[in-house]
Amino acid sequence: MRVTVVVPRALRRFADGESRVELTLPVTGEATVEAVLAALAERHPGVRDRTVDERGEVRRHVNVFVEDESIRHADGLATPVRHGTEITILPAVSGGAD
């Protein structure tokens, strides 16, 4: 299955400048966000490392969306993704002192 990861401006230098990374996962049917991030790490480890921490959890000031839905409001890294799904990584507005 193929999915697309949308990379935020701040992390594009870790993705060879790409804003959208197309990934092919060796599964059919359904995968998880965690599996997508693992596949992303093979190509652009710097993006993955700035999205999840060393325990594999999404960093506090980063949000990951499956289509328009934040995975915090779904099943976290276990949120299912299907062929054609768009996964978006974005900095949270909680990142600064506002």
Partner: protein, 232 residues
Amino acid sequence: MRGLWDHPHRPRWEPGGGGLCLHSIVVHHDNPHRLLVAISSAGVYRTDDGGKTWESANQGIYAEQGPDTMPEFGQCVHRAALDPVEGDRVFLQGHWRTYRSDDFGGTWTDITSSLPSTFGFPVVTHPRQSGHAYVIPLQSDEHRWTVDAKCRVFRTSDSGQSWEPLTAGLPQEGAYVTVLRDAFAGDGLDPAGLYFGTRSGEVYGSADEGETWQLLASRLPSVLSVRAAAVV
């Protein structure tokens, strides 16, 4: 305010950097049952029945924290301020733009174009003159200091169609200062006095509607809030 507390959107409200914070309450001039609140980062909500029921009021407010850049709610809004004359006119400084509404939050118009940046925290309206408002833009979400290291207050006299920098008495070199949403206030006098504080511990004041400024205090702790009162 159970209507807001129990609002179906509430489980999806995300906190801003200062936490999930309801920071602005705007009460309509003519109708005390008509209120608008701004929450970082849930967006703007409005009630017409004194708080029993609330609807999101974010139409036209841009957001970058999700794939949808014009969501129904979830916008990071930093401060709302009511026009002193027009009861339906509200100014709003957001995380990604500055806005004005002429229908009490029904729709928002982007008034950022002649400001030097899209980011900032406070907005203050004039105590008597309609369409007059003041903002202090910061460089960006990432670089939270006064644009180009110049400490400038920007004033509009035409409801945000144009803005002019007010600089007399304010540092115009090497001024990497941050002014937070509660750290800018007016005193309501005539002429209007304006006061703001910085995270680096200075307080500046103007007794002539922003034309000239003076450093009133320095070497304070980070200034989180400034309030002005007139002693008669």
